[in-house]
Point group: D2
Chain length 284, copies 4
């Protein structure tokens, strides 16, 4: 796999933005692999993701940042530069249900998710054996012994020690404190087992059964201070019928949860997601 | 098409119900075409739909009702008997958007919906030409001239005169009064342009756009006094992306609305739907 | 609706293509509304669709062609320039089944399809009344009277007289001659009632029923001399079960056919489709 | 979980079948948990699946077989009796790609698949570690050393020793000999990585890419002597675009393969599938 750089931009829209950026890259020898742009006309914003081959590109990271900054500043760009060679560090939080954890670990192993997973955290011991199979350190911080605050303090210390770039809540059943969320803003992905905004909060499959819906869903989203209200990354649904009891919903839902969570994690790791106004642009 | 009878039952579950009903029909010469039963174990209820060929069946409607009643009473059955030869009468209510009306009229003509449509009602003149093409009387009761109460009174009188069995709200943008709903309970089908219970109320596509969902939906349901909270009959969704503006949602949603509404109407006309506890059993 | 121009390009890939095109447009005052590019790395091809607002753009069509040609020639571009103000002319061919025709006419009326429909052609009289409702001339050229060759000659003359840009086969059950196809290459869209390449040829629903598939599909594609083998534009599927007989497949399939055909027609009319190597790039 | 019995029947259709079977069961104290029947009118066949609680049921297996046989013979029934307490034995065949194996093992562990898995067979060593994690014996019979015939002989001996009820080919890339298939007829489930009957044979994702389809699929089916032509159990599809290269199809396809294979295995283990005329009835 060849090394590439990715530039993510959003800024007020104006004429000539694509020309400016494409020309800047071309003059420095960039061979563009993918480029995608988007305009939200209602709010007058421009979004771009461009990825280029580093082979033959004339600038290193420091030089790029120096030379691109004036252009970015002039157009009031919010921008991010990423290098594919840098492997992000991902921590997975889990409780007793392990299907999402098992899925993420399998996909990382199969090469679908490009990241390191230096640790798995839980408030229950259930995931220990699975973590062991993949040779990943497993930390159990039971809430019963250390309290919710104590558990979070321990968790934050571990994330810090391991320089974690992305936290994935793989059916972690605890609500994170606002302080925790603030520390890892836009870098915590959760999966909620409903088609948001329907059935927020606890026991969404029970609520869906009660309401008599004909499709159930799952949603992956970035975590914000407001529960189940962060920017949605991906959603999917599956059909149910009157024959399905709550247990069937739970089982069918597990497949959805795995799929929407793993897609969100992959897109985040591939730097395909831009957040704005509590929404996401997912470049394909 | 041969004539058939359909029996719809729900009652407390007990041993031997299927045997009793099947034996009752068999002894009177019924050739069963379809039979489907369902148990809701949580609430201990039994549901059944059975359809049989009338050719060779020994009872007429009056005789059936007389002979079946004791069995039904003993098992505390809620039951309904329908004959395929009886064509139900359906009234369609519409406003300015005509895609669902056009779809229903086309499907009736193509033989997908087995019913008569003696009239179309609206508070706007827009549907008149389309109704004319299908030679269906069109009544316009503008709310501006007669007021909401006056319009409903006129509508109820028309439904009564035409002995309407089913009212379909095909993107009719008015809220029916509780009195109207009470008069036609469980026989009014509406389409709501969201994946209920998400985005109830007005302008659901705007709300969906605002929230940044990745799928939009539509829901057909029986109308109850509580707005958008009646028993759900059918739902479907379609994928959207950040490229879709509100107008695109509206356009993509129209295809969903047509499909979920026409399915609900067909299932109702084929006597496939049983309601209980604000949910539906849809026999397939 | 403001007027815009659309440029569609495909050519061998090289560094700097995006920069060159974006700069060319920017220097002439183009405000880019949408731009999307794609690379097929296996075959080394570059594809681009760019749409810009004509308000403030400095060139008329002749000037654009003159000034852009040298750049295009240098990069061996295959390119096409379209103006949104030019309404394409579409002819619809139909037989006895009218659901796709009804759908296309409705969508054109509702503003979903931006085109003129100066004529409808058929080898049966069934669509006459529907055409009349939309005030579109209907030409019936029965094969029984004029023979297949005679019918085609008459049809080609009509298409020529009306300067037709796009021919849509809306469940037209005749196979066009190679000569006809050659005359309208890449400008004939057909809908086939199966998930191609499964079940090519006649009676695909019967074949699907026979094979016992669990999903049925429909496919819209450009017509080429090889039957059912042209570039695929869109496909969709729906679930069936053992309960569905051939008639049910036919009915469920009609909804699929409508949707895949109308999407293909819309994308074609919006100049979103590029063909190469018997495949399509559909820019979204 | 309470013990239940399941009766699967297919036979020529006649009046009174449901009454006879329901009455037979009721008179012996059966509390019916699920019953579903189906008629294929084209061929005049009747299908039924009935499941009842053994608590309070008056017959043991031998008595049931004795007393039911006369009824079955009279109606020329093809019938099967299964007891939920009997855990079926399943063998999994695998090659180098392990995603389906990992999925099946996880689901068995999570309680979704009710079976024992006494052995995993492969012609490559890749699955050994995963089998070890789940403590399942892993037998590697490389074709290089023992030849295809030798490998099959060893495999058949192992299946025999372990009294295997169901063989699952979880992306096993070898074609089984007709003799092997004959020995385990209707008890071998395979997953093919295309939407059958499209793209039979080797490298279906390459073929799908080449043809330019807009959806890719996967199919689970019973294995017969004719390659990729056995009765289809389940199929599913996912959308692709021109942006997807063959590698993307392979990755997206893996999720489909897992889902269609695991559903087929679960339905088989729950005795929901009846085969006839190279098709399946899957009772839900």
């Amino acid at each position: 796999m060849r090394e590439s750089a990715i530039l993510l931009i959003h800024c007020p829209d104006r004429k000539g933005l694509v020309a400016d950026i494409a020309t800047f890259l071309y003059r420095r020898g960039a061979n563009i692999l993918h480029a995608d742009q988007h305009q939200d006309k209602q709010v007058g914003l421009f979004f771009m993701r461009v990825e280029w081959d580093l082979d033959g590109f004339g600038l290193n990271e420091r030089e790029f940042r120096e030379q691109f900054r004036p252009i970015a500043d002039e157009s009031r760009m919010d921008w991010r530069l990423e290098y594919s060679e840098k492997m992000p560090s991902m921590a997975i939080f889990v409780s007793k249900q392990l299907h999402c954890l098992a899925d993420l670990l399998y996909r990382r192993d199969a090469g679908e998710l490009r990241c390191r997973i230096p640790l798995i955290l839980s408030n229950h011991p259930d995931g220990k054996e699975l973590a062991g199979f993949y040779k990943i350190p497993f930390y159990c911080t039971p809430i019963e012994t250390s309290g919710k605050d104590g558990a979070e303090t321990a968790q934050l210390r571990l994330l810090n020690e391991h320089e974690i770039d992305l936290v994935v809540l793989a059916r972690y059943m605890q609500i994170l404190s606002p302080a925790f969320v603030a520390r890892h803003g836009s870098r915590i992905i959760n999966v909620h087992h409903s088609f948001l905004p329907a059935f927020t909060g606890a026991k969404p499959y029970h609520a869906a059964f009660q309401r008599g819906v004909k499709l159930i869903g799952a949603t992956s989203h970035y975590v914000t201070a407001a529960l189940d209200e962060g920017p949605i990354i991906e959603q999917d649904v599956t059909r149910i019928s009157h024959r399905d009891q709550v247990d069937d919903l739970v089982q069918k839902g597990r497949d959805l949860e795995r799929i929407v969570l793993s897609r969100a994690v992959r897109w985040h790791l591939e730097n395909r997601i831009l957040c704005y106004r509590n929404k996401t642009v997912v470049f394909d």
